[in-house]
């Protein structure tokens, strides 16, 4: 037997899922996250799920993991102290940046001046110079370098970045500087820009490489811990991490290039949502992945998530591909407070996180959170995790009472206010990916997942007019599902920059052949067998003189046979005309070549659930009361494990399951489909 084990580490819970590769049968569990060292929860969760499913560790073929270790380091400013080595004359490369002040005319008046990610006191200049053809014009002053490295030691840098002018053309000097750094500072990891982003534009290359350095020690520590623990447990399968672009990479690669992991966690949610949507027959979806500390939203149009050439986390934007996901600092753990000065009700951005957590979790939390408000209103029943965790309802009420007192309203109005405010802030994030991109949210369904998404999705669907609201099965572990069902993806790229007249079919065919060899070697190392490999190729092309290129798919065989290049030029002209309404007589320029090897997607069908009648009474757990639309109303609690396909649930109602709770509001009705998805619509 072979199993895929998916793990997603969230701010509050660590979710796990195992999939039987042969049957598609799944089993899931969750444990509380351990923010001080997330690998503790990963390992204990993995042991737990294997024990529960009666799987032995050597049956795990793939250990697939989405992690927010890198993301959190950036968001919380826990980056390590990065030293930066640049060419003489360019010390202020990050200080000057691209000189851009965001925000329109006069935007500078209110723009906070940013601090560079590698501080200037940790940035040194070295004597060396490469020209724009890649020739050394001033040789490296090695003695000078060794002297100046002392400054980096004095500043106690924890990682070093090397970014030299024109190194994208020739990496020889950067390599030599890295060797000297390794001699002078043997324990300090070194990232070089010609490895991380071999592209023209010194600022973007420097920033991306510095970001890589900034999270490298923390990610390396984490990944090494995890690998060691898994090995000592006896696991022999592959350890893969999910990249920001939704593809998988080996843990060894991730250690050296963690800049590709900045959106790893949220990418799992989107890949999971894609998988659910495919079988639910829905093509246009807004995703709402609400966890304990933050909420991620994305837009899926026509069955595809949007991919960007950049990754943005907080105020940091680097050149690494990612799914287009927006994050807001609002989650179940967000703390409600009433500032004395204004007397307004605010929710977040401070979060109680996993520790001390919401008051209701009895982990030491004392401040009222969104979760506590949900408890007070009766949206969360008395226990979570299938009964493994009792909720302190009275504690939650006392905490929310402090808000009510400050606002001089009753405790239920205060709780409802907290929920309204947090919903409004998620509504804002969803508008960023929909309305502000010109999409009408009324033409999209809304998928709520993550631990808290199903609690809030109905209310947010009402704000957005996005129907149906879909709650997938196991919504709390959808990210882990995404981790477990996505593919290995290996990409290699070449900077080419040649005009049409300077190249030919044979040269291009030869380069694509070399690149094929590179990705084949890597994908074999990832354990993807030959028959499961899929290859694709792209060439970025533009008119010589333009700044942006259009990526076009190509077939290497046409270049080998001859005529591929001419065909490419024709396709480009067609595409340029379609995109921009005109063509130019200027010569074409081929900018980059890319080869991608993918593992075949895992054929895991979602499980079908038993068919039942419209009446869900068989799944009823108990009668209940919920505070909806300003009054206490009679409601029913249902057990999700007992609901059947075809059931129709009238709101107000609650559907509980091990990892999540779905709220159906008054005047809404929920239908259950073949795969157990709950689809909520207005009555």
């Amino acid at each position: 037997m072979a199993y895929r084990l998916g793990v997603d580490v969230g701010g509050t819970f660590t979710d796990l899922i195992v999939i039987d590769e042969a049957t598609g049968k799944t089993r899931r569990t969750k444990v509380l996250s351990t923010p001080e060292d997330p690998s503790i929860a990963v390992i204990s969760g993995a042991r737990k799920i294997c024990a529960e499913a009666n799987i032995s560790v050597d049956e795990i073929s793939h250990f697939l993991h989405g992690t927010t270790v890198a993301t959190n380091a950036v968001l919380e400013g826990k980056n390590c102290r990065v030293g930066l080595i640049v060419t003489d004359g360019f010390r202020q490369i990050l200080q000057i940046a691209r000189s851009l002040v965001p925000g329109g005319l006069a935007g500078w008046i209110i723009w906070p001046k940013p601090e560079p990610l590698a501080p200037l006191e940790c940035t040194i200049e070295i004597i060396e110079r490469m020209d724009a053809e890649g020739n050394v014009v001033i040789p490296l002053d090695e003695a000078g370098l060794r002297t100046r490295i002392k400054q980096l030691k004095d500043e106690k840098v924890e990682a070093v970045t090397i970014c030299l002018m024109n190194s994208y053309l020739n990496n020889i000097t950067e390599k030599r500087v890295a060797e000297i750094c390794a001699e002078e500072m043997p324990d300090i990891p070194v990232s070089i820009s010609s490895d991380i982003l071999p592209e023209m534009q010194e600022y973007e290359r420097a920033l991306t490489t510095v970001a890589n350095s900034a999270v490298r020690p923390i990610v390396a520590r984490y990944v090494q811990n995890l690998r060691r623990e898994l090995q000592s447990w006896g696991m022999t399968g592959h350890l893969n991490l999910l990249r920001s672009d939704g593809g998988l990479m080996s843990s060894e690669k991730a250690e050296n290039a963690p800049v590709n992991l900045l959106m790893s966690g949220p990418a799992g949610g989107v890949t999971g949502a894609l998988w659910i949507a495919k079988y639910a027959g829905l093509k246009n979806i807004l995703t709402l992945d609400m966890g304990g500390t933050s909420t991620d939203v994305a837009l899926i149009e026509n069955g595809e998530a949007r991919l960007r050439r950049e990754t943005t986390v907080g105020n940091l934007t680097v050149r690494a591909s990612s799914l287009d996901i927006r994050t807001v600092g609002a989650g179940g753990g967000s703390i409600a407070h009433v500032p004395e000065l204004t007397g307004a009700l605010r929710v977040g951005p401070e979060s109680a996180g996993a520790v001390p957590g919401p008051v209701a979790y009895s982990k030491g939390g004392t401040l009222p959170t969104v979760t506590d408000a949900n408890v007070v209103l009766g949206y969360l029943p008395v226990s979570l995790l299938g009964g493994a965790m009792e909720l302190d309802r009275e504690g939650a009420r006392v905490a929310v009472q402090t808000i009510a007192d400050a606002l001089k309203i009753d405790v239920y109005e205060a709780a409802a206010g907290i929920i309204d405010i947090v919903n409004e802030s998620m509504f804002g994030a969803l508008r960023l990916v929909s309305v502000q991109q010109g999409y009408d949210p009324r033409e999209f369904a809304l998928m709520g997942f993550g631990g808290a998404g199903p609690l809030h999705a109905n209310a947010i669907g009402r704000l957005m007019s996005s129907w149906p609201v879909i709650i997938p099965p196991s919504p709390g572990v959808l990210c882990a599902y995404g981790d477990a069902t996505t593919q290995v993806r290996i990409e290699t790229a070449r900077s080419f920059n040649k005009r049409r007249s300077d190249t030919n079919d044979a040269e291009l065919a030869a380069i694509m052949e070399e690149m094929t060899a590179v990705v084949t070697k890597d994908i074999l190392e990832e354990g993807v067998s030959l028959e499961d490999q899929e290859y694709s190729y792209e060439i970025d092309i533009r008119y010589h003189g333009q700044a942006f290129e259009v990526p076009l798919s190509v077939d290497p065989a046409t270049f080998k046979a001859g005529g591929g290049l001419e065909k490419l030029l024709v396709s480009f002209d067609e595409e340029h005309e379609r995109l921009f309404t005109f063509n130019l007589s200027a010569e074409h320029e081929l900018v980059n070549l890319r080869a991608v090897a993918k593992g075949k997607s895992v054929d895991v069908l979602p499980e079908k659930i038993p068919v039942g009648s419209a009446d869900p009474v068989a799944a009823k757990t108990s009668d209940h009361k919920m505070y909806v639309d300003g009054a206490w109303q009679d409601a029913v609690i249902y057990d999700r494990t007992k609901i059947c396909s075809g059931n129709r649930i009238m709101g107000p109602a609650i559907v509980t399951e091990m990892d999540s709770t779905t709220v159906i509001l008054n005047n809404f009705v929920a239908d259950v489909d073949t795969y157990g998805n709950i689809l909520i619509n207005p009555v």
């Binding site: 003489d88 004359g89 360019f90 010390r91 202020q92 490369i93 200080q95 000057i96 940046a97 691209r98 000189s99 851009l100 002040v101 925000g103 329109g104 005319l105 006069a106 935007g107 500078w108 008046i109 209110i110 723009w111 906070p112 001046k113 501080p119 200037l120 006191e121 110079r129 020209d131 724009a132 014009v137 002018m165 024109n166 994208y168 023209m200 534009q201 010194e202 600022y203 973007e204 508008r431 309305v435 502000q436 991109q437 010109g438 009408d440 007019s465 008119y543 003189g545 333009q546 700044a547 942006f548 921009f580 309404t581 005109f582 130019l584 200027a586």
Partner: protein
Amino acid sequence: MTAQILQTNTAAFDPVKVDPVTLDIIENALRNAREEMDATLFRTAMSPGIREQGDAFPLIADHDGKMVVGQFGSFIDGFLKNYDGTIEEGDVIWLSDPYSCEGAVSHNNDWLILIPIYHDGRIIAWSAMFGHQTDVGGKVPGSLPTDGNSIFQEGIRIPPVKIYKKGVYQEDLVELVLHQVRTKEWCRSDLNALLASCRTAEKRVIEICKRFGDDVYISATKDLLGRNKRAMSTLFTSSIGEEKVSFEDFICDDGMGFGPYKIKCTMWREGDKVILDFDGTSPQSASSINFYLNENMLKMFFGIYMIMVFDPQILFNDGFYDLVEVRIPDGSLLKPKFPAALSCRTHALGRIFDVLGALLGQRQPEFLNAAGFSSSPHLMFSGNDEKTGEWFQLFQIGFGGIPGRPFGDGADGHSLWPGFTNIPNEFLEKYFPLRIDRYETIPDSGGAGLNRGGNGILMAYRFLQDGNISIHDDRWFTYPWGVNGGAPGMRSRKLMIRADGSEEVLGSKVDNIAVHKDDVLHYITWGGGGWGNPLERDADLVALEVKRGLVTVEGAGSYGVVIKDDGTVDQEATISLRAEMTPQISSDVFNFGPSHEELRANCREETGLPAPIAP
């Protein structure tokens, strides 16, 4: 003369009530269409000025020509008043002559494309975009002669003409124009990019109309303009007084040895109407620094400054235009008479922003920013590539220090212009025969203050072959002023170090300077003024900035901070120095530095250049 608009559908639009959600969606869809205009332009343009630096400005206007989204405000009204011809479905207007459009574009280099957007036989909107062409012909590469004395020397002047006539592309016309310029391929591509960008907006607006209906769309744009007018009216009444306030600032010289030129503005409110009167501004220059200031554009500048200073939540569009009246004397630097030269208007355009900022902040110094990098210095470098024989021509915009602000320190080496970015040095080196030896900010160039002014930039260009350069800059004679106790920033400077080691100081506005292999030009821009009393700045922060190379040990003295050999603050010495310096800190709101008489007397000694002669 008035344009005659032809529409096959003469039915009037029905005003309808638009629900708030729909209004929100339409506003955001329009804003997004505007961003898509930028994206299309940058993706398809070729000149570094547009594709790398973003020197281009889009707008989408309602059917009457009022800007609903965009940056510089609408000029369509003025164009329609002056255009003697018909506008029909399928027409696209192209123009560059500032005198033909009341200064909607302000020099011949800015090419403007304007599309009337028709749907079902009626104009429902307008889209427009203008972008700076690297060259439009004329007496010098770059078409901005620093000694120009007539607009006829500044390259081809395009009156409003139809580049598309009822949908038919006028190829002969385009070829005739492109034949006049030095950078034909760039101009051709940039022109196509402007067209594509406006077409994008056209497509999006029509989509919105199809989705919601023409009446809803038209009513929505009206509501958006009305919303802005209401907000601005409240803001004007609460923030601008009825008594007059004045401010004056200067352009250092006109490139012909005369200067400084004064820009003076007086502001007051009558009811809910604000008046901006430029009486007292210098007469027009005989040279090319004149700025034909479009009154609507000034209203937009003013409105945006108000919003940013007092309430950044307000969304801006043309809705408030009726609330502002602009008076500019004929024959002045800001309303020169045809055929005055206009090409080097960038200095006056920039200085307008310092003047507006000072006017608005004068009564409420807590909102006042210092003077900044209120211009966009240029460098032109051109010649024949010695390897390929091809003509090359670089037009590059430089940056400097953002002013000290109530909000905090000014950024070092950044742009005050929206959306502008620097050209990556690797790009410059790849496509032009030069190498950048140094690219850094100049320590101490930002004025000292509780909040420091941003530092100016030193860019050292090493030329790798023969060519010619032009320089356009200012603030080399007068200082970027500080406020509320802050000191002025450092002035600009241009130094040529020839391959043989000899040095020469270059003027701030010069053309036709020959350069040779291994000559190095030090292009030094100015710093932002400081904000607030520098003696109150955290001494440890001053020490940290010394370590960071942003302030020198001597420069720390301007903050009354004494730095020890180990780089830390000498606490005792600092306390006594600060006590000693306290009486020297000016209690005036503005600190302009020395008087013009003193500047003149010391000019050659301090700057290496002769003092300008009063015009």
